[in-house]
Symmetry: C2
DNA sequence: GATTGTTTCATACATGTGATTGAATCATTC
DNA sequence: GAATGATTCAATCACATGTATGAAACAATC
C-alpha cells in the first residue's frame, strides 16, 4: 500500500479513506481494468456480417487470445486474473458473474450450433470448455512453455495464427464428439 | 515458518539449520511431492500390452487427470504447481527440467505418431499443447467452473469419463489439423 | 567419562504490513 | 469571511515475517 500510494502521489491513508481497505481497492482496480479490456476486444471482434458459426468461433477465440496474450501495458491484469482463478479472493465471485458468465454463454451458443441440436448438453459443455482451455493455456502456462524452449505468441500475426490453429483443432474435436454416439 | 515448524513439532531455527532458508525448504518439499505423485500415476498408467497410439494418448490423458484432479491429500501440490506456473519462483526451472520436459516428450511422441510423419512440426507441437491445455484446465479454472454452476470431475469414474472426452475431442482435433494443408 | 561435532531450542532482531488517528488543509455554502 | 464538510497528511500502532544467535541437549568417538 505504501508503494502504491507513493507511485500514485497519494497518502497511504487515502486508500482507507476512499475504499475502506486494501481488498476493496484491489477489487475496484480489477473490475475496472477488466471492463476496459473486454470493451477493447469484444467477443465479436472483427466479425463480418452474416457470419457462419465457424466465423463466430474464430472471432471468439481470436478476441480471447488478444485479451490474454497481447503484450500491452495490461499484462498485470491477466496475471491477476489467473491468480484469482487459482486462488480466489473476494473479487472472483463478482468477476465471474459480470464477465465470465456472459462471455461463456456466447461461446456455448456457438458451440451448441456447431454440435447440432441433437447433441447431448454435457458434450456441448465439454467442447466449449475445451476451447476456453486452449485459449487460457498459453497465458497460464506461459513461463513453462518458454522454459521448454517453445514460443508463446505475442505479435498480432502470431496470435492470428494461433487463433486459426485453435479454431481448426476445436472444429475437428467438436465434429468428432458430435458424431460419435 | 512458525506454523510449519509448530505442526512438524520442530523449532523454527530447524528450517535455517537444515535447508538454509525458507525457499530451499519449499523447493525440497515441492520436488519430493511431485516425484511421489508421478510415481503413483505414471504416464502409461493402466496401459494394455501392444497399445495403439490412441490407447497411449488415453493413458497419458487419464494419468494426467488423475494426478491433477484426484482429491487425495495432495490437493495442495497442484495448487502450488499452478501457482508456480503462473508466478514462478526459483523452484520452477528444476521442475520443468526433471518433470515436465520428460512428460511432454512422451506426449509429443504419441501425437507425432497420430499426426503422421509428414505433418509439420509446429502442428504436432500445437496439438500436443492442446491436449495439455485441456488436462490442466479443470484444475486451473476449478473455482471458476464451480462458480459457473458446472461440475469439476473428482471421483475416479468421473475422471475416466473426462479422460475419454478429452481423448476423443483431441483425436478429432489432431485429425482435422493433420488433414488440412 | 571427557571431548568433539551435531542438532535443537528459546529468544531476539530488523523489517514489512495494513490499519488508524487527529491535526491540518482545502472546498463549498451561507 | 466564517462555518461546515470533505480530503490529505505525517505519525503511530499492533502484529506478522524471515532470519540470526548463543546456550543447551544430544550423539559418537577415543
Amino acid at each position: 500500500m505504501r508503494e502504491i500510494c507513493q507511485r500514485a502521489g497519494a497518502n497511504v491513508a487515502a486508500i482507507n479513506y476512499h475504499f475502506g481497505d486494501k481488498e476493496s481497492l484491489y477489487r475496484a482496480v480489477l473490475e475496472n481494468a477488466l471492463e476496459e479490456m473486454i470493451a477493447e476486444y469484444p467477443p465479436d471482434y472483427g466479425l463480418p456480417k452474416d457470419p457462419t458459426a465457424e466465423d463466430r468461433l474464430y472471432a471468439f477465440v481470436h478476441s480471447f487470445l488478444l485479451r490474454v496474450l497481447t503484450g500491452s501495458k495490461r499484462t498485470w491484469l491477466m496475471r491477476m486474473m489467473t491468480r484469482e482463478m487459482v486462488e480466489p479472493t473476494s473479487a472472483l465471485d463478482r468477476l465471474v458473474e459480470t464477465v465470465q458468465k456472459p462471455l461463456f454463454r456466447i461461446l456455448h451458443g456457438i458451440v451448441s450450433e456447431l454440435c447440432g441440436v441433437e447433441a447431448p448438453p454435457e458434450v456441448v459443455l465439454a467442447c466449449a470448455q475445451a476451447v476456453v482451455a486452449q485459449c487460457l493455456f498459453y497465458k497460464q502456462a506461459e513461463h513453462v512453455i518458454t522454459r521448454m524452449g517453445h514460443r508463446v505468441p505475442k505479435s498480432p500475426v502470431e496470435i492470428e495464427g494461433l487463433a486459426r490453429q485453435i479454431t481448426a483443432f476445436s472444429l475437428g474435436g467438436i465434429r468428432a464428439r458430435a458424431v460419435m454416439r
